[in-house]
């Protein structure tokens, strides 16, 4: 690991919920310093059993998650330089992606994931996406300009639920699916894999990165890597081809 590169890297972390809390903790304890945190929500009581940095007072005062996580990171390391941004990622300027070295998605809905994935790919930034549902977890690494992206692995079922939020609270949110989205032991594993991949990428070891997706099943105690073939009809790759004027069809790998 290249500690100088790690401490100098600019990380964009999108989402400061259960996964965002764990990823933020792992980032700062791994030596990352410059972390921009984007989240639109405030803390609620039901976040507290799975979010390291949140307190009852934060929930009572409806403090914004991005700001509370930034304070928590400073509490772990006075050298850290967290930069909280309160708002939706879709409302942030596109240059935000290119201004950072790497992007980590800790999101709870497909629509925001699609946005983060597409903008990261367009900016040529490695995008590491984490997702959880109960004891199941997934980490996907998209490595532009080659290979599949997150959207390559999506299908019609993703389109149907794209605007829903898979909330772990079920309360105080506009849209939610009443699922057990966040379970702290799964969260710990998924966040650890995400940050480990970030460490490899920033240290200049792309050959060590996950190929496509890592699936974890806590009920079976199993994990495996799965291939997501590049989709020649994926909008992210179609747009990329139009932008570069290339008409050659991509081949699935």
């Amino acid at each position: 690991m290249d500690l100088a590169s790690i401490s100098g890297a600019k990380v964009l972390m999108i989402g400061a919920g259960a996964l965002g809390n764990e990823v933020a903790k792992d980032l700062v304890l791994s030596g990352f310093r410059k972390v921009t945190i984007v989240d639109m929500d405030h803390v609620v009581g039901s976040n507290l059993n799975r979010c390291l940095f949140f307190s009852r007072e934060d929930a009572r005062d409806k403090r914004m998650k991005a700001e509370v996580v930034a304070e928590g990171m400073l509490g772990l390391s006075a050298e850290s330089r967290p930069n909280p941004i309160v708002g939706r990622i879709q409302d942030q300027p596109c240059r935000l992606f290119g201004d950072h070295n790497i992007v980590l998605g800790c999101l709870d809905n497909i629509e925001a994931r699609i946005h983060a994935n597409a903008h990261s790919y367009s900016a040529g930034r490695v995008y590491i996406d984490g997702g959880m549902e109960g004891f199941l977890g997934k980490v996907m690494v998209a490595r532009p300009p080659k290979g599949a992206c997150l959207q390559c692995g999506m299908n019609r079922t993703h389109a149907k639920v794209a605007s829903l939020r898979f909330s772990c609270t079920g309360r105080d949110v506009v849209f939610h699916e009443p699922k057990l989205a966040a379970e702290i032991t799964t969260t710990s594993i998924i966040s650890a894999v995400m940050v480990r991949e970030a460490l490899k990428a920033v240290s200049g070891h792309p050959e060590m990165l996950l190929n496509n997706a890592f699936y974890y099943d806590g009920q079976r105690n199993s994990s495996e890597e799965m291939e997501i073939p590049l989709d020649s009809e994926c909008p992210v790759h179609l747009c990329g081809r139009r932008a570069t004027g290339k008409r050659k069809r991509f081949k699935s790998t």
Partner: protein, 87 residues
């Protein structure tokens, strides 16, 4: 989805439910898409609304592909797995 009309011979594919271990045999045509298989299997097991993917071995199958495009054959075993989207 099964049909013998149009000269398309149906093939039997087994789909496993990763969450329960259950399996179902589906009679399909090679022109059926992976999206259709996912939705049929999810409906059969009364799955909650959510994102699912179908895999063969270690490869996630592309939703828009037909069974033929995906290189599937009779008696192949696929697995329906939830695509976790919570954070």
């Amino acid at each position: 989805m099964s049909s013998t009309s149009g000269g398309f011979l149906p093939v039997r594919i087994k789909v496993k439910n990763a969450e329960t271990g259950a399996s179902v045999e589906m009679e399909l045509e090679m022109e059926n898409t992976i999206d259709e298989v996912i939705e049929s299997a999810a409906t059969f097991w009364s799955k909650d609304m959510g994102a699912y993917v179908l895999r063969k071995g270690k490869k996630v199958l592309r939703g828009g592909n037909s069974l033929k495009d995906a290189g599937l054959r009779a008696d192949d075993v696929l697995e329906l797995i939830p695509d976790p989207e919570g954070g």
